[in-house]
């Protein structure tokens, strides 16, 4: 839909950017060979979760906040549990915690497979969708679907269904899965491990546009384990703080062009980034041996600073999540009882876990009866929005020689580097490039 306008000025727009979760628009303005403005405009209709949670009972955010996102409901459930349990002073047993980590591995596997194969790979392979890709490379798409299925089956085995699982509750689970049910997943996961390793090899061979970001990388860190379900708030710039200090270090701002609130590090000019690149930079040493070897073979440096390579890191994390799931199944002990009792008390609780796209923070204020008086949710996409806009500006500035179609392609691809989950952040990215 590009067209030439008179006097050498160019104006280009795309009605909607596809293969992202949710709806938004992006504007890039160019005048006299300079990028003068970049806005990621999220017009996903607001759904007001933080407001509708007020007056609900403390056990309800587990199911209600899952409905914020159809891709990462487990992340919402886990952060909600962590925050309310924190408010009530409850720590869960090791078997419950391991079962939570197991269902979370399922979400990482299905979400990463979805993003790599169905949303992002078509950019690298020059096609409009995985369905088109499947015409010539059916076995590639079938591999992605198999991997996604393995993740979904794992979530179903623990959670009852793969989308908005029903078995997660405050304090643990309604019913512990039988050992035999989880062991039955082993063949599927063994195959998924091969598929995930093949995914690393596939993505590592993609032609990567050049871009070097300077963002501060922020992830949870927990010594001895790759961050998924817990950890301290850490960064490549030396931040090391407990989750309850989240709001002291990360502030949210409401800007005119978006229904997502923008987050930034308190006192920092530089944007920060959460998600696979950050987790890999800060927690690489805790990856499983096969995941580390795969990262090495893919030629990934210790800190990956080209956001286009995020697809490779995502694949490495899929390898890890499959191996971690197998490890957790091997050591599975049915939690008995399947949930700890959580008694209401007045207070404030904080919870943060690593959604597939990055840190997801929940904070709840409860009254004596466990009624929610205030809720705050900071999803990964609103944290990444500033970094994303910076990347678009940076890439566009150095590639203005590209024609409109090529530039648009790379910018859309750059948006997908961060696997934006716009329903989380509060709908289609509508990319407009104006040139003068």
């Amino acid at each position: 839909m590009s067209h030439q306008v008179p006097r050498g000025e160019r104006d280009l727009s795309v009605a909607a950017l596809a293969r992202v979760e949710g709806e938004g628009a992006m504007r890039l303005r160019v005048a006299d060979g300079q990028v003068t403005g970049v806005e990621l405009n999220i017009y996903e209709p607001p759904r007001f979760f933080e407001a509708l949670l007020r007056g609900r009972r403390m056990h309800e955010p587990v199911d209600i906040t899952a409905r914020i996102c159809g891709i990462c409901p487990v992340a919402y459930q886990m952060s909600a549990c962590a925050a309310v349990e924190d408010a009530c002073g409850v720590e869960v047993s090791a078997p419950i915690r391991n079962l939570r980590r197991l269902i979370y591995c399922g979400e990482w596997i299905q979400s990463h497979a979805l993003h790599i194969y169905l949303l992002h790979a078509p950019d690298f392979l020059g096609c409009e969708s995985a369905l088109v890709l499947a015409r010539d490379h059916r076995e590639v798409v079938e591999r992605g679907l198999r991997l996604r299925k393995a993740g979904n089956e794992l979530i179903t085995a623990v959670g009852g269904r793969d989308s908005h699982p029903v078995n997660v509750r405050l304090g643990g689970f309604y019913r512990a899965p039988a050992r035999a049910r989880l062991e039955g997943l082993r063949a599927l996961l063994d195959e998924a491990l091969e598929d995930a390793l093949a995914t690393v090899r596939m993505t590592a061979a993609f032609d990567m546009p050049d871009l070097e970001l300077a963002h501060t990388l922020v992830a949870l860190s927990e010594p001895g384990e790759y961050p998924i379900d817990r950890g301290r708030l850490t960064s490549t710039a030396g931040l090391d703080a407990p989750v309850e200090a989240f709001s002291e270090h990360i502030v949210e701002e409401h800007v005119a062009h978006s229904t997502a609130l923008h987050a930034q590090l308190e006192g920092a000019e530089q944007p920060y980034l959460v998600g696979p690149l950050a987790r890999y930079a800060l927690g690489r040493e805790w990856l499983s041996p096969a995941a580390q070897a795969a990262a090495g073979e893919a030629g990934l440096p210790k800190v990956v600073r080209n956001p286009y390579q995020s697809i490779v890191v995502r694949a490495v994390e899929a390898v890890y999540a499959v191996e971690e799931a197998l490890r957790l199944i091997d050591g599975y002990e049915e939690p008995d009882p399947p949930a700890r009792t959580v008694m209401p008390r007045a207070g404030v609780g904080h919870g943060a876990t690593e959604a597939p796209r990055g840190i997801l923070y929940h904070r709840y204020e409860l009254d004596d009866d466990g009624i929610i008086t205030r809720a705050t949710i900071v999803p990964p996409t609103s944290q990444n929005q500033r970094a994303l806009e910076a990347d678009l500006r940076d890439y566009a500035s150095r590639h203005l020689h590209l024609d409109d179609d090529a530039l648009r392609w790379r910018l859309e691809q750059a948006i997908r580097n961060y696997d934006p989950c716009i329903s989380c952040a509060t709908h289609f990215l509508d990319l407009t490039v104006e040139r003068r």
Partner: protein, 262 residues
């Protein structure tokens, strides 16, 4: 593009994307489906956008903005058959809780600059705006039911979707009744079937994510909850006001209890 293939479109309104993602979770059937339909508009899956008309439109999400009121009429005009998928499109979704509240208070609670936010005071189902040919329930929809609806409508037959209750599904599965055996409040008797009675199978009460069953006896169940199980009015109201709060069989009972209980 083979012209003989029917054109399928998937549309998003206010939602979590979970129901349209269930199409992409048809991991065993997706490529076979793509062999027999032309995926003409499905932004989550493809940047290819083909002009209508569309033989079958799947609509996810509820109507919450002035623009979306216009857009759903455009979708209807471009669609031979229109099916709503999920609780948001069919009943207004969890975001319909705003219908019972002061929307300005909601905006103030979330956003620092309310003037930047364009939204309606209500979240309404698609059927309040345009004619809907079939409503598939669930938060989220069951993907096998979704496949049945798509296959049936593309072949011109009526989808075989049971209008019974979760309670019936539960009995057929042989599960122990959590309400009778454990005294656990359960919405199964008044909730539409389709999930396979998942919650009782996990020893929890059904929480109504598929919305009201046909001829739901909400009053009788409400009385049972309160008189036999000792559930407080406010908790009954909370249970009826979740993902299908806007469905009349749940909403009206909720209103009655506000009137009589407060």
């Amino acid at each position: 593009m083979a012209t003989a293939k029917p054109a399928l479109a998937v549309w998003k309104f206010a939602s979590c994307d979970g129901c349209q993602l269930s199409v992409l979770s048809l991991t065993d059937e997706l490529l076979a489906l793509a062999d027999v339909v032309d995926v003409a508009y499905f932004l989550e899956a493809s940047s290819a956008v083909h002009e209508g008309p569309y033989d079958l439109s799947l609509v996810e999400g509820s109507v919450t903005t002035p623009d979306d009121v216009e857009r759903i009429h455009e979708v209807r005009r471009a669609s031979r058959t229109l099916v709503t998928i999920g609780a948001c499109a069919t009943a207004g979704g969890i975001q319909a809780l705003r219908n019972f509240a002061d929307i300005d208070g909601f905006i103030d609670a979330v956003y620092a600059h309310p003037a930047y936010v364009s939204t309606l005071a209500t979240s309404t189902p698609i059927s309040e705006h345009v004619e809907v040919d079939f409503e598939l329930r669930g938060c989220p929809v069951d993907r096998h039911q979704l496949l049945e609806v798509v296959s049936a409508l593309l072949r011109g037959r009526r989808p075989s979707i049971s209008p019974a209750s979760v309670c019936m599904e539960c009995k057929r599965s042989g599960a122990v009744c959590v309400m009778v055996a454990h005294g656990t409040p359960c919405l199964g008797p008044i909730t539409h079937a389709g999930c396979g009675a998942l919650c009782p199978a996990h020893l929890r009460g059904c929480y109504g994510c598929f919305g009201p069953a046909e001829t739901a006896a909400t009053g009788a169940l409400a009385a049972w909850w309160q008189e036999i199980l000792g559930v407080e009015h406010t908790d009954l109201l909370r249970a009826l006001r979740t993902y299908n709060a806007g469905a009349s069989e749940f909403a009206s009972k909720g209103e009655q209890h506000v009137a009589s209980g407060a």
